[in-house]
């Protein structure tokens, strides 16, 4: 009996949450699709999905980060730079975004100035 009350309570809460955060749920689904595409190397598809996720929740730093990565993968470096900056503005203390941005900045500086990149994860092949 008690268990039944708990289940009904949870169902009611989740139902209420679903109706109030519908765009967030849809954004999560889009983001998930985007990550699946990115894992397969379909960056154009990933970018499309992340873009849709951003339309649903525009100030989400995690979505902006994923968008920046997709833009980077497609060689749209200037747009990626702007997107990383937006992501950091939205969530300034997120270490993952900061790490991504640092790696990108190192590459972007080398690429733009023609400086020899360092040996490491960004080493030339």
């Amino acid at each position: 009996m008690r268990f039944g009350v708990v289940v009904v309570g949870l169902a009611l809460i989740s139902g209420a949450c679903a109706s109030s955060t519908k765009p967030a749920v849809r954004a999560s689904a889009e983001m998930n699709e985007g990550v699946q595409g990115a894992r397969r190397g379909y960056w154009q598809e990933a970018l499309f999905r992340f873009e849709r996720a951003r339309q649903l929740t525009p100030e989400n730093g995690e979505i902006l980060n994923n968008l920046a990565v997709a833009l980077e993968a497609l060689g749209r470096y200037d747009e990626a730079l702007a997107m990383y900056k937006q992501a950091l503005q939205a969530t300034p203390k997120n270490n993952i975004i900061r790490k991504n941005y640092a790696r990108f900045a190192e590459f972007y500086t080398s690429y733009a100035k023609g400086v020899k990149p360092k040996v490491g994860p960004d080493a030339l092949r």
């Binding site: 998930n32 990550v35 990149p117 960004d122």
Partner: protein, 227 residues
Amino acid sequence: MRFARVAFALCTLAVGCAGTREVQLSLPVRSKLALTGHEKLYVGPFIQERRGDEKVPDLSFSVPAEFERYLRKLLRKEGKFVLVPSVEGVRPPTSDPLRLVKESEFWRELGTRTGVDYIVAGSIDFQVQDRSGMKTEEFTSPIDGRKYYRQVMVEQTGFSYDIMLDVYDGRTGALVFQQPLKDFQEKQERNFDEFTGMFANLFALENQVIGIFVPRTVKTKRVLFVP
């Protein structure tokens, strides 16, 4: 109370499910010169730079000739360019690199003679520096454990390479691209072979040289957020 605990645990679980995933990227990097990769190129001439009254190092090989040969090999390996064979008796009108850049008539004539789209030439300064000498070193005595300073003989040979790579339009003789390339290598040995030293410099510069002519990709990793 118990219900609150269950709800809290479920919420924590839901938040914890949102994770990250590392992805591999191959970032495209355009070549510095806008080329299709099938152009006709002429490599040379390269001139050896002189710094004022400093004499050119006495080497058993010609640095410009070796660099020219190396550049030809690199361009043949990395691109699909049509490399026109060297023309005998091409003498630059001046040995001053700054003035040579402005001799567009000479470059235009060379371009017409060889029928190429671009001429890759420039100037080279290769220095061998014997850096042997006495150096002060900190030393901890195994007997009394105190720190002492002693003079040690350090034997090093340094090789510095300073190249100014110029690309000229074969039709007009105009300079279309210029890139300085610098490298310094140090070997823990005195009188280290100059030829090996020179190629150690060149291998270090390879990515920069090829990046001028051929698009490349850079392998790297980034992190994506998964909801």
